[in-house]
């Protein structure tokens, strides 16, 4: 089975991730997921591709901590985080987060918390490649 936390170039399958998540327990009543995708349009500009740079070793260890923190904070049965790097096109998957709990509220709240924290904690940067040139994304506060 693939690791619960990964940084990878290739795409992932949600069916595979969810069945890996469910494998740990049949007491899992609710699974919340977040899938972040590349938009082909951002702040008024057409976006052809998005490329990523990452501090790979730190990003992976921050994602692992984030998963453990979420499992502790929300009493999850399991959680998974996958982030792609390299270059992706409009509509492609970028990040996948899944949180499984006995009940739905914990699963959904953990999922929301994990994607918010990931954006704060994990050293990954995206650059939008547009017909007018490339630009690193400046996140809104």
């Amino acid at each position: 089975m693939k690791a619960a936390v990964r940084i990878q170039q290739e795409d992932f399958s949600q069916d595979e991730e969810i069945s890996a998540l469910k494998a740990c327990s049949k007491r899992m009543g609710g699974i919340g997921t977040f899938l972040g995708c590349a938009r082909d349009f951002s702040e008024g500009r057409e976006v052809e591709q998005i490329s990523f740079d990452a501090y790979g070793s730190m990003a992976l260890s921050e994602m692992q901590k984030l998963r453990s923190d979420a499992i502790g904070k929300f009493a999850l049965l399991d959680a998974r985080i996958v982030h792609r790097i390299g270059t992706v096109s409009g509509g492609d998957n970028i990040v996948f987060i899944a949180a499984g709990a006995e009940h739905r509220v914990a699963a959904l709240e953990a999922c929301r918390w994990m994607i918010d924290e990931l954006k704060q904690r994990v050293p990954i940067w995206k650059k939008e490649i547009t017909p007018q040139g490339d630009a690193w994304v400046v996140p809104h506060p």
Binding site: Y55, V95, K119, W125, K126, V138
Partner: protein, 79 residues
Amino acid sequence: MISVLFFGPVAERIGKSALQVEFHHTMSLQNLRDKLAAQYPQAFEIVCFAAVNGEHARDMTIALTDGSEVAFMAKFSGG
């Protein structure tokens, strides 16, 4: 020596993704930052975070040790 790493927008402004800086006894993270910021002011305008050996470093007064890996990073935009 201290290995200094740059990524994404900071690496682009500096024009490279790594530097070696000679280690000095009693060198703090802030000392290293000040030295590099003087050399690359445009890049350090967008530096928001530092990491030492792959861990977030919130306290800029910490002393560095020889052989440390330090990263000066812009605001993250992953996810």
